[in-house]
Symmetry: C2
Subunit: 380 residues, 2 copies
């Protein structure tokens, strides 16, 4: 038995193991909510577990802003990094792949295999860049529905996601009320407040003011890396909590003192954030970041007339919304108000608030309470 | 009587009126805390009101990161913008220029007339840029003390300031305990936490990753404007409160919808922030921003061994520290812990917390409660 076999064997007991992605390709023109059209689209996705005979055990996972379709397992034995929700998805895990057939796709507008601003426009042979239509969360969900159709699924056991994934989840419950059995939105909100828009626009300005951005028409090997790194650094701070950062980094220092000022890394937290910014550049596209953050800013379940209840009327399935106490980007109240509106409408909905200290990113970190909450909600 | 005279007359009743700055110039080498030396220095300053005969009515105001020496009045009748603390300083105002002789100087390391990274190094005939020594809040205060000496003042009635100005105020109370009668630090902290350092370093990265920065050696007419604007936009969000932004901007929109994505201003808050970023570039120097934010990050009254009480032992004068409920950058607790330590040491100190909703910037906005607090503290 070689090392690889040993690892596969381990995977079989509690891990998803080695996975591969698939591409759903549609040649039918897709019209965006804004009226813009693309001649076709591709959604890259992964599945875990097996569809049962009556096709009643499918769960769709929606990823957050900078996530992708790779939510569990590894691509090969040399890869050390597992999917972004690996602790949640797998045999015996809260989203149990021994019971459920799990699907996760890269969003429309993304940059990890699905059609997005940097995809080639078949009509011009060049990337769409800013010719890509204005994008909304509803567009993402409608594209996902085409993928679900293509898999022969009329109905999903559940839709689940955090942050932007939570917005997609809510949109699924509104736009396809009869196609899902339940839904769970984590660290979510019905709409961005001014502060969230402000942070996003500052990130966009960092990208768009980078001379390498060139109004979106940059070469693939010369992206606006500086702007994107800065946008990520800033956004990353908003995903963490004050207390969480203090516990992890505090004022721990790296560098030696000298009378000369170099502005190199001095505090640990600087090193961490600069690394996060740098890593992000290697895995994410700047135009995609612009489009996706705009979709987040425009998402508004209150609608232009501020009537959240009106928008949620269509929902039928029972829902769970989870807020995290230390999340200051989409704070507990922004999650709670969704459930309050659902309950006013007589819809079956629950709100849970977890006192985890990882801020907005709490849904991405393993916690027994979160595990139990999701497992019970999906299995009940 | 022409229009100018009419205005001067109005000023005499309740306004500081037209002011002019002065320059304090020292040709004596100044050694920084880091060991670095400059061959001399200049501090630009303004004064308001008159020094009394026994020289007992002088108040020093310390400005915040992006403030300057111009804290009250106007430079000429055509100028519409008054000094940054005009509501606080003037005849009959809380810092009453009918009673007090008020001094405000641009900090060492600044860019509004005082010696800073963009000043000409007399030894090379070129700007210091990154040859400017590492800067601390203590350096700023020691330079201010030279100015106070030059004005023939042994002792100040009070030192007062907010944010970085509050740090200077505390440093005055520690380093020159016998030279001040009282001190008031507003929206302050004993040291930055990891989150505050993270925001500052992201701002610095925005500047340093701007190709125009050129390792600090940029032409005066070609500064790293994009990076500086982005740094300011981000920092500005941290100076406001979530609730304050929501009340002022919410999701108010500017632009018309279209299917094409332009990433131009769509929400009011974007317009406001982009304007703030742009304005800042015209009045602030990027290298100075780097040096001053570093001084903020390094300020640490807990010291390397975490003993706040030890550092505050030297304080003699009675102090007032004011926290603002909506300030999440230097939250109330960060202010309160300073007074708690002072009280443990048996020092005369008071803590006040004002429930204003302008966030960290609350000390820069007029509020009757703040007025009364400062007036009473100075006059008692």
């Amino acid at each position: 038995m070689n090392d690889s076999e040993a690892l596969v064997s381990t995977f079989e007991e509690g891990e998803v193991g080695i996975v591969a992605h698939s591409d759903f390709v549609s040649k039918v023109p897709f019209e965006f909510e804004s009226g813009g059209v693309v001649p076709g689209l591709c959604l890259r996705y992964e599945t875990y577990g097996h569809l049962n005979k009556d096709k009643s055990n499918a769960i769709l996972i929606c990823h957050a802003l900078t996530g992708d379709h790779h939510c569990a397992g590894v691509y090969d034995m040399t890869e050390r990094k597992q999917g972004w929700w690996n602790f949640m998805v797998g045999p015996g895990k809260p989203i149990d792949t021994k019971k459920y057939f799990v699907i996760c796709s890269n969003v429309l507008g993304g940059c990890n295999g699905s059609t997005g601003p940097r995809s080639i426009n078949p009509e011009t042979g060049k990337p769409y860049n800013l010719d890509f239509p204005k994008l909304t969360v509803r567009d993402m969900v409608r594209a996902q529905a085409l993928l679900i159709d293509s898999l022969g699924l009329d109905r999903l056991h559940a839709v689940i996601g955090g942050s932007m994934g939570g917005m997609q989840t809510l949109q699924w419950a509104i736009d396809f009320p009869e196609r899902l059995g339940r839904y769970a939105a984590l660290a979510c909100c019905a709409r961005h407040n001014a502060q969230a828009i402000a942070f996003n626009d500052t990130g966009r300005q960092a990208i768009m003011r980078d001379p390498a951005w060139k109004k979106g028409v940059y070469a693939s090997d010369a992206p606006p890396a500086h702007g994107l790194a800065v946008a990520r650094m800033m956004a990353h701070i908003t995903y963490l909590s004050d207390a969480g950062m203090e516990a992890r980094f505090g004022r721990k220092r790296r560098a030696e003192d000298s009378s000369r000022e170099h502005f190199e890394v001095e505090f640990e937290v600087e090193s961490y954030l600069r690394y996060q910014g740098q890593q992000f550049v290697s895995r994410f596209d700047a135009n995609s970041y612009l489009y996706l953050t705009k979709a987040l800013d425009r998402f508004d379940l209150h609608g232009s007339d501020g009537r959240l209840d009106e928008m949620l009327k269509a929902v039928q399935a029972p829902g769970l919304v989870v807020g995290f106490g230390s999340d200051w980007l989409y704070p507990p109240q922004a999650n709670r108000e969704i459930v309050e509106a659902l309950l006013r409408l007589g819809k079956p909905a629950s709100y849970a608030e977890l006192a985890l200290n990882a801020g907005h990113d709490s849904f991405l970190l393993r916690a027994p309470k979160l595990d139990a909450l999701i497992r019970t909600f999906l299995d009940r």
